[in-house]
Symmetry: C2
Subunit: 228 residues, 2 copies
Amino acid sequence: MTYQHPKFLVAVDCVIFGYQDADLKLLLHHRDIEPAKGQWSLMGGFVSDGESVEDAAMRVLYQTTGLTNIYLEQVAAFSAVDRDPGARVISIALVALIRIDEHDRELVRKNGAHWRSVNEVPKLIFDHNEIVEKGLETLQKRASNELAGRELLPEHFTFGQLRSLYEAIFQRTFDPGNFRKKVLSLNVIERLDIKNTKESKKGAYYHRFKDQNESNDPERIFKIHLKG
Amino acid sequence: MTYQHPKFLVAVDCVIFGYQDADLKLLLHHRDIEPAKGQWSLMGGFVSDGESVEDAAMRVLYQTTGLTNIYLEQVAAFSAVDRDPGARVISIALVALIRIDEHDRELVRKNGAHWRSVNEVPKLIFDHNEIVEKGLETLQKRASNELAGRELLPEHFTFGQLRSLYEAIFQRTFDPGNFRKKVLSLNVIERLDIKNTKESKKGAYYHRFKDQNESNDPERIFKIHLKG
DNA sequence: CCAAAAGTGTTGCTTGTACACCCATGT
DNA sequence: ACATGGGTGTACAAGCAACACTTTTGG
């Protein structure tokens, strides 16, 4: 051992967002270990040897949703000395965005996990409510700097669906016309020749995200300040 | 012990920015422990029991600069398994902004520390160059979302000095007139009746940051996109 | 026919950007 | 007198925001 210093348990807590029924969802489960066993908690786990924080988060995600290749972003480190009454644990929070229709429902069920609307997050253990707050902020920042949704929407989506997603993320409404124009100006989605006729009488064209390469993004600053 | 899991050394690495001679500076020192002893490194240390990550960073700052009450912001966790050849160390990076004229030069000297321009950062140990990059990004984001400089400039400063600071942070020039108007519109600084006559023939009014309370900030989005 | 979402257009306003231009003064 | 940074003003462009209006079709 080269260094003589105290060591710590290091955990990852995943703020896993999905989107369904025009509502931003958060994956929560009943914690299965003491302390606070049975209470609502974020999906989390401890970092293992030979594993980076991101590796650990991906492992947790795979174990709980069956998904790989997930978009992950660090939120922050939470390290208050008494944040976990069971032991001194330093936790790195990460936010993950997943397509809710692709996850393994059986796995989620086995984990005692449930999707809950971000508007109805129950009291969570420790500082997890605070982590959710910060995680949502991180998502909002991301969604203002670029057009988010690739990881949350199905392959094909209408403008209405994209707008609903943004309304869920920012917890407010956007003017349909202005939102459309703003998104189009970013030049990152393209229209298909198929129409969705389920969600409106007239029918709305499906769109899809362009490939990373062809979506020429010259400093795309989104700056969503559209009012309802 | 409640949990059975591997434990890790947790470090803090501080990206300490100061500002002097129209140049953004970074505090570096010669590492005094093996491995990589003597090489350039960020100011850092290990988290102790009973100490949060922020506590540890403040301790490191105090030990190296003698300063307390420093603005601190988390950058990210760096946790690649082999990032430190001496041992498995998970490091939380934080960015700190200090007024360079207030630090304890003697302390800094004892630490073998030196201020280096961010434009001339040498090869650092481990992943510290990457940490500096991320730290600068964090500073830039902060400086675009609000008027930064409280912690970097002296009490009284001219528009020229503030603009120079921003030019150092963003590594580009700003139009003097437009910069002035933009900053004034934020309504967070006030003019004093004293003039600085050293840096220009005409003399420039000193300004200072208003108190947090009286600087009514209605969603101040800075959005520095001024061209040279 | 009516409601409701899709999609387009118009207009006023705010803000960014590029300048021109005067001011004060040390050299 | 002139070069230099300070400070103000102007004019155009771009983007935001509010909202009118037309299209389409299921009920």
